[in-house]
Amino acid sequence: MTPNFIIYAPLLAVSLLFFSWSCYKRFALIAVGQPENRFEQLDQRIMGVLTYALGQKRVMARSFGLNHAVIFWAFLVLLLANGEFLISGLFPALNLALLPGPIHHLLQFAFDAVSLLALAGVVLAAGRRLFFAPDYMETSYTSAKSAEAFLILGSIALLMLAYFGLHGAMIAMGKESATYMPVSGLASTLLAAVPAENLQALVSFFWWLHALVLLLFINYLPHSKHMHILTAIPNCFFKSLEKPNTQPREEFVKGGRFGAGSVDQLAWKDLLDGFSCTECGRCQSVCPAAITGKPLNPRQVVHDIKINLLKGSLEQDSYVPGQPLIGTGEGSVSEDAIWSCTTCGACMAACPVLIEQMPKVVKMRRHLVQMKSQFPEELLNLFENMEGRSNPWGIAPTDRTKWYATMDVKPFDADTTEYLLYVGCAGSFDSRQKHVTVALAHILDAAGISWGILGKEELCCGDSLRRLGNEFVFDKLAKQNVALFNEKRITKVITQCPHCFTTLKNDYRQYGLELEVIHHSELIDSLLTSGKLKLNHQVKELGKIAFHDSCYLGRHNDVYDPPRNVIAAATGSAPQEFERNHENSFCCGAGGGRMWMEEQLGSRINLNRIEEALAGKPDTLCVSCPYCLTMFADGIKDLQADQIQVKDIAEVVAEGLRPVNQ
């Protein structure tokens, strides 16, 4: 090889220095974020890297993802090749030929083969961007046909071509053998027409082309979305080990700042997320708010946080933000966007590099509610009702027992009852959901379960407060609940609401309360399987049943099979699936406190889901969540699709408990 040491050495040194400086500037900005321990449970973290980064699990969840995986794996192999290239440019004697023959030959073959795969990969990627790009690649700040994307793809292609050119010419000169480099061998035959005396010039040309593109590419990385090459693997390592909606508690001390009103009030991992985003748009493609035309786009939130961070100035140890985090324009997240989130977690489930979009929104809500008292006006009543009467509607707590007017229901007593049925606010007060509570109570009795309730003493779990950013009041409520549960010696809890379920099960763990919390679909599943619950007849009267995964049961808690098993056992056939099901399920529109707000922007989320259901022509929509029940009942009325009824899973089962002759 023919590098000119005098030119190459300083060029390499300057490139590496500039690259290091760029990286340092970026990482110094990330360090501006708030501390958060993301180092515990190393085994799970390493598994995360193996599964999501090296294994490309989420990347390949979509059909074209394989193409990225091929380019990525080729990149890993070629890291070695390019390392050798840069070093042997300085010291020609230091090269892989020093390795034992078979290993060297294997590497030669590997480099040759994966270079071809990488070349094919970037050509396909460019073709996709040009001719069959999915809609979700487009957004306000970038597009499928962005110059940046083609610059990156073009650079990679050029690197591969230079590689083949260099080795082809070397083979043509007889300095290398084509035996282990079939693709370069092919290239050498293309160079057969080149006069021998010009081959050395070609070698030099391709060598310098490869070197220059490589060094420019390296230095372009930290300033582009391609930064993810450096940050995606750490990002997977530092993933959240909590459930997506269980976000860190805040400590309420005087002089504290609560939530994130400026970019440096976000955690460092939130900032790392910004540099890990590849702008693939998958979160955007699954976000119920984005799909229904609301101003929220999870990828834009991550982008704006990154832009905001970059606009600030960092001198010594003090960081001064360049613009408000919450506001208008690029680099700020609008209040409308912040309040549009249903905290359904679809964005987080879609992100190939495990970016946490939704928690950032909640952190900004915490700031707006707690520091500014700025929120949609509908929430004022909600917050006051929650604090004053411990339920969203502000109904008298004494009414919590009205649902069982005609039944014999016992209060929970640790000495005589096994389970607490945590009825929940909807189950206690919502006229439609009260039917579900009654159905569930009948099921529990039919199965001989020992259960009781808290009655007038029951408090709201505080789910909506927490998702809406009113952490202060949630904190008070959680402490009251934890004290109540401890005092009553409650250990096993049945809930009929995925929001109560997740709050009691995951959020209260942060308060030291470890409960065995069972969603009614799980309990009914186990009762049917064990034979403790026997139906009087197979449920046929509800016709074809489609099952909808609630976000807080499915995506947030991985409960997918129990409700399906229940429907299959009760009706004799598996439920019909929505097109978007399991972890791809689509929100009803009521999570994240959206239940209590008007939906004034864009089209309605519940209608989007009902329209999807209508495609399968079901007779019954089966849900497992009071919010979904309300949203779907409303959506069906709006679309005048009265041929469909909405039932909770407990009601489907209770149908089978009716005597046969009725």
Partner: protein, 270 residues
Amino acid sequence: MLIVVCIKQVPDTTQVQIDPVTNTLVREGIPFIANPYDTHALEEALRLKDQFGMRVVAVSMGPPNAEATLRKALAVGADEAILLSDRVFGGADTLATSNVLSAAIKKLNEQEEVGLVLCGKQTIDGDTAQVGPGIATRNGYSQLTLVDRVDQVDLAGKKIRVRRKLEGRHEIVEAPMPAMLTVVRELNRPRYPTVPLRLESEDREVKVWNNEALKLDVNSIGLKGSPTWVSRIFSPEREKGEIVGDGLHDPKGTSRLLIEKLLSKDLLPV
């Protein structure tokens, strides 16, 4: 200049039930809240403070636990909170209550000029709407009841112009200050306290004034000073309603019938 806001701690009446045997309110376990109308009075005072820089003093007469309600007033931005609490104040009707509140406001006026006194239009437990006017009369203030809009405050000219919400009409009234206003809910939307203010309010002082501070004749306050007393509380029997038309078979005709009926009884605004 001071704005004094009178706040009463009341039982959360949505949770109050009447004991069918004794005909008294079942108060056990019922949470106390700030009288909702009073929170609108406080909000208006805070808005005037934001605009003109007056100081807002929240005053409440009640048992020691009424301190919680005053602390909430501090949490939304009141500058000072004074609890008028003494056993001799207990058992007061509206007259005795106005005597105590009027005296406290006079005492405040000795330290700093009181420009406005704001009260809710009535409390949700007693519903008499007499205490605000009682204060105005005793202290010789202009009396502006049922205010749903404050149009103008002229501090130099000591004048205030408000809109009063009356049945079926509004009235715009200008009056000299000091003035006592009672307010309705339409006046404003009370603010929600920020967490830093809430945390700070936990340590702030709620002053307690007893009768040694006010030096009122014990015959004019508390039970002794109350010429009225409650003889019986009961839920009135509800008169039987009527079923209008046949909504099941003729929804349109029935709606029309219902609207005509309501119009004839003057129950719908036209």
